[in-house]
Symmetry: C2
Subunit: 334 residues, 2 copies
Amino acid sequence: MRVAIDAMGGDNAPEAIVQGALRALGEDPDLELVLVGVPAELRGLGPDGERVRVVASGPAIPEGAPPARSLLRQPDASVAVTMRLLAAGEADAAVTFGNTGAALVSAVHEVGLLPGVTRCTVGEALFAFAPERLILDLGPSVDVRPAHLVAFARLGCAYLQAFAGVERPRVGILSNGGEVGKGNQVVKEATALLAASDLMFVGPVEGHELVQDRADVIVCDGFVGNVLVKFCEGLAAVLDHHWRRETGRPTPATSPWANFRAIEQRGAALLGVRRPVVLGHGRAGADEAAGVVRHAARLLRGGFQQRLEEAVRERWRDPEGADEGDPEVAAAGR
Amino acid sequence: MRVAIDAMGGDNAPEAIVQGALRALGEDPDLELVLVGVPAELRGLGPDGERVRVVASGPAIPEGAPPARSLLRQPDASVAVTMRLLAAGEADAAVTFGNTGAALVSAVHEVGLLPGVTRCTVGEALFAFAPERLILDLGPSVDVRPAHLVAFARLGCAYLQAFAGVERPRVGILSNGGEVGKGNQVVKEATALLAASDLMFVGPVEGHELVQDRADVIVCDGFVGNVLVKFCEGLAAVLDHHWRRETGRPTPATSPWANFRAIEQRGAALLGVRRPVVLGHGRAGADEAAGVVRHAARLLRGGFQQRLEEAVRERWRDPEGADEGDPEVAAAGR
């Protein structure tokens, strides 16, 4: 299993990323690394070894830079070189901790979307007590159109079918009320599309219902999803602290917030591209970087991509014609 | 202190509302109630008494009904009669548990907005450990324009100045990232307006920063705010259960989530109208209804309205011309 790693992206790159990746390598004899970065900056970080290949690239696309325009100007950006290695089959999975928009645009441009998929997305289970309740999108798609939410629902269903064996996932849409007329404009229109689709749509899911067993796949735009998942991360730190102060013990794995830092600790797979891409947290240190590389290896072992492709191929009926052309590049590059 | 109560609005009206209001009345000798509702439905609920006046109205505007159109068709709706009593000075505060949009439109139409205020809002402190960190809007304004977020910031600042003595509140805007270029379209434009305003704007606040001391007033649209506050309510129930199972004790008042149900338990004041209006939770039972009436009494005792008006009058510099006419009616009636 060869994992290509954009060693330049992220707040603590390249030191912490390389350090974490090498730690994951040391634990897993089946793993090989392709470290992508500026040679002068990687030298001295100890990336030489039997199962490590170093590939030269330019620096990362900085956080906050407009993705598409930056990638056009900087074709040797570390994330672009990483995705190209993945597309060329010189790696089996790719990992990046850099600018999310750039990762997305680069993945779509270099690796491509699965047939019938019009926009890729990132989803996660927020709760350890409900590991098969997927919420998506969690960040990449901030401004969405109604048809995108339908596409996210389809990808989320395919993911649950492939990994959790959920035969016919229930789909909900995050909203501010259960009654007709609630929702913002996009949610109202997406609700009508979902109700008319072949998906098992169960209707709006309110904030308090996120902790209840209302739906298996809950769609929202990446702005709300990102606020929610980061709020959970922040809350986990507060709850850990409270728990330790009150009980003198560390947070048990059974606590409701034990999963809130999952994305920090293992990243999240991009759903909808042709080969496995895992996005790590921009703030990742060495521990989190090791966790993300481990997660990429886990996805490869579990046959992530093949299973997702099969689920999409089997279940996909009508891609709704959400977009023409390459909407990611246009949308993310704004 | 005379509190007018829309006895017909809410999932458990009129029984639970009347029951809760009478309980609050029994505890507070300075309180008088004006119960507004369909006489035949209130009869038998025991609302007769020395400090209780019953005023006849029609039924409530149902949950999910379009607010402005419903109010036009049903001028004797319980919420409209309640707001008219408040406007006429026959009550000192009004309370409703019904259709939020109808409450808002009715309050703006019958009671009116404060001078310089273009849209009213609802805010709350999410965390017991940070009672002076206000998040708003929490529901009434689902689809907002950038200038509305500036107006919410001003009202939130006035509220903190009036009640918490925070001289110059720091204003943040909820976003999906701290870098330039993050945010959805509305957030990006509002960020520019806030940065150019006389407010002490500290920039974007990410989800995990909601638990940190980044800003005193954090603005967001009512869709995101509503999802967040309801998520907190749902989470509180899960955390209470977990805490009791693990420790055998009820949740301590010092727990980080002790405040998550504040809005359920005491409602939230509408900021920006000329007289005190408290919105209770649609799902309120008798306990919550009593809590909301108690909260209205607390606001009256604390001089809520006078203090807010003074703060708005003193601090308000530029209302930004967010709206012309009566935007609530147009927006909420969609």
